[in-house]
Structures are given as structure tokens and as C-alpha cells.
Amino acid sequence: MSHKFYTILLLSSFLNAETLGLLDINWKQVNKEVVMSKPQKAYPKKLTDVIGKMTLPVYLPSNYLYESKYTLIADANFYTMSYHLEDNARLSITGDRTFQDTLNPNTTDGQSLLKASKMIEFYPAEGLMSTDFGRNGANYTLLVECYDSISDKRCTDKTFLQNIYNKLIIVGGTK
């Protein structure tokens, strides 16, 4: 089977670590999860070679539709992997190790965010179904966008996305 596989390689070679905050990754926990991570079918080596070099755990669906073509946009600390599902929807997962702001957790906003960081919510918003979650120090967004946002259940009911979420596995990432 030939994979319809597109990777976007970004060619700059340095990172200014002082002007951009990086979150600490709990690699000990990640390594435990990696052992448990078993895709239904191995991702192509060409892809895993690339994502193996990212500095955050790269979560991807274990059960994604293998026939779909996919696009990876990535740098060392960030990726968006998106799948063109053949039946008129687009599934994407974004992982990010950077942060842009800090907040004292004892403030009102800080308390709200602290509470939210412990919850998983699947929300239909603007015709999309998505969820944001943190794992092992990094942050992720899982999202499905339907060509028919009103009648396609994947975008109105959380079941489809929840199933994908429950079967995310770590496919790469390194300290």
C-alpha cells in the first residue's frame, strides 16, 4: 500500500531559547507511556525519523484511517499533524511545548486555569469539535472539522473525537 504522505520540513537551524519559554517535559513518565504505545499499524519510518527528533512527546492517533493523506507541519517544539479523511472531514492534532505567558496560580484567572487544566472537555464550537489538553508537560489540541458542520455527527457529537483521544499514542519525541 502506498502512503499518501506529505511532510513539510522547516529548514532553519537554531532556536532562541531566551525569548521563548519552553515547558519542562516529564520524560520519565513519557518513557513509561512509550512502552505501552502500540499503533494498530506502524507509522512509516520516513515519518517517525522526523518526529523522533522533536523535543516533546508526539502524540498521534493509533487508529487513524491509514488511507488518508496527511500533512505534518513541525519544528523542534511544535507540530500539527492533519489527516484528510476520505469522507469529507479533516482531523488534526497539534502539540506544543512553548508558552507565551505566565500567571500566578493563586490569582482568580490562575485558579480558573488550574481547574481547567485538570478537565477534559470536548466542545462543539464554530462548527468544529475539539479538545485541548495537557500531557506530560506539553499542550495539545485535537480537532475535527467537517465539510458539513451541521449534519456530520463527528462535528456535533463528541463520540468520534473521544474515540480518537482515547487511543492517542506516543510516536516520537526525544529529550
Binding site: S12, F14, N16, A17, L20, T80, F99
Partner: protein, 265 residues
């Protein structure tokens, strides 16, 4: 110190998370902020399109939602979270107000969404407008994720949405385009006219570069002609805890718009 990483997949990342606060008087010359007056002339063009030219810009404060039944905002949050952001529509005028509670909206005054009342200043914040999904930064715990912006007239596929900072196009769906800025923020542009989207996934774009035309596309169905614009960033709470959130974007939009009006977008 710059850390050199040998990987071939790296993108130059730059930018810093700075904040500024809107001066109480608004700060910009020739522009009134927080003034409810509408001093402009409303003209109807030949094809009935409403064009509001020469009106003096004004905006109601952040956190004050209009109409008040549309929800509770983040009162007194005058922080400009993204001080250098370019306004996401290429040209002024543009109008931030509710699509749901405005004229022609499902919970709004009876009429058409093209009604001239929707194409007037002042702007109204709608970041925390009532929705059904969770928004931890909104007082009710629920809210809109961003703000809705109408372009200068009620014509679809005519006005360009543009890049708010340098970055890379990280995702293109059927009506959504995501730009990951060099700062790491994700800017989402929704309801664009799909055939007009001139960027490709993975394309590096410059601040102000055209992305696609503002329309009413919502994936097989239609909404009013507007740009839904939202921004996500990650907030570090310390002790290994962080949260990705939608940023209160109204004040940054006011700031960016004033710069656009002053010819320094």
C-alpha cells in the same frame, strides 16, 4: 544565548510574551476610544451595499457586552495581550460586534445581517459572549473563543484577511485557516471563502500578507459575512502545570485597529 540545534526540521522561533496596558484615554491621536457616539456618514452604494465612510472610530470598553443579555465579559481587563499584532483584515473600516445578538442574528433584533446597524461604530466586545462551551477566562466559565469582525461592507469574498504576525500556515480546513506565529501563538481565521485562500499549509507568511477573503462559509452551511478570529496561547502556571487558552483579544484588536487607521499597521 542562542542554542544551536542541529536538527533539519527546526524553524526559527522568535518573539516574546510582553504585555502592555491600554492608557485610559486610548492613547492614539484623532481616535476616540470608549465613546459611544457615531459621527459618520452612512452611504448606500448602487447595489444597496452599506458603506460607512469617514466615521470616527469608537469602541465600548473590553468586557462590556452588547446587548447586555449576550453575556458577561471580562470587565476592566484592559491588557493588550498581543501588542504588536497586525489587524487581521487588510483594510478599515471593519466592525466588531455580535453576529448572534446583532440585527439578523438568531438571538438578535429582527432583520437582515446586512443591516446598516451592524456596520457602524462603536465596536462591542464579544469575546465572552454566551456560548455552550467552556471558556475558563470568562466570568461565567463559558464564552465565545474570539471576536467576530465584519468587513467594511456586507459583501462576501471581497476583503482580505491577512497575517497578524510572521509565521507558518499550520492548518487549512474547509473554512478555517490556522497561522502559527513565530511567538508560538495560534491565530485562527474562520469563515473564509475557500477558493480564495492563497496560502498553502507549511507556507511561511509575513505579517500583513494576504491569506484569504472574508466570507460566510461554515462548512456546507452559511453564517453571516464575517471573520471569526481567535488566538490561542499557552499560559505557564508553574510547578509543571500549564494551560492552552483562548486569549482575550478585544483590546489587542482595538490597539491594532487604531494603528491601521493611523497608517502604521
Amino acid at each position: 544565548m542562542r542554542k544551536v540545534l542541529p536538527f533539519f526540521i527546526l524553524l526559527l522561533l522568535s518573539g516574546c510574551a510582553t504585555k502592555t496596558v491600554v492608557p485610559e484615554n486610548g492613547g492614539a491621536e484623532h481616535i476616540e476610544v470608549g465613546d459611544d457616539s457615531f459621527g459618520g456618514e452612512v452611504q448606500d452604494s448602487q447595489n444597496g451595499i452599506i458603506v460607512d465612510k469617514g466615521a470616527k472610530f469608537s469602541s465600548t470598553p473590553a468586557g462590556v457586552l452588547y446587548p447586555s443579555k449576550s453575556g458577561k465579559g471580562r470587565a476592566n481587563d484592559n491588557t493588550i495581550y498581543i501588542p504588536s499584532m497586525r489587524f487581521p483584515i487588510e483594510k478599515a473600516p471593519a466592525y466588531i460586534n455580535s453576529q448572534v445578538y446583532g440585527v439578523g442574528g438568531i438571538n438578535g433584533e429582527k432583520g437582515k445581517s446586512c443591516d446598516k446597524k451592524n456596520y457602524q461604530y462603536p465596536w462591542h466586545d464579544n469575546f465572552c459572549e454566551t456560548r455552550t462551551w467552556g471558556m475558563p477566562m470568562c466570568p461565567s466559565g463559558k464564552g465565545h473563543q474570539g471576536v467576530d469582525v465584519r468587513p467594511m461592507s456586507c459583501e462576501k469574498a471581497k476583503y482580505w484577511a491577512v497575517a497578524t504576525e510572521n509565521g507558518i500556515i499550520s492548518y487549512i480546513g474547509s473554512y478555517t485557516v490556522s497561522l502559527r506565529g513565530d511567538s508560538g501563538r495560534i491565530y485562527r481565521y474562520m469563515h473564509l471563502d475557500s477558493p480564495s485562500v492563497i496560502v498553502k499549509e507549511g507556507a511561511k507568511v509575513k505579517r500583513g500578507e494576504r491569506i484569504g477573503l472574508v466570507s460566510d462559509n461554515m462548512g456546507g452551511t452559511k453564517t453571516s459575512i464575517h471573520l471569526h478570529f481567535d488566538v490561542q496561547q499557552t499560559v505557564n502556571l508553574g510547578n509543571g502545570v500549564s494551560k492552552k487558552v483562548f486569549v482575550q483579544i478585544y483590546t489587542s484588536m482595538v490597539d491594532a485597529y487604531k494603528r491601521l487607521l493611523n497608517g502604521r499597521p
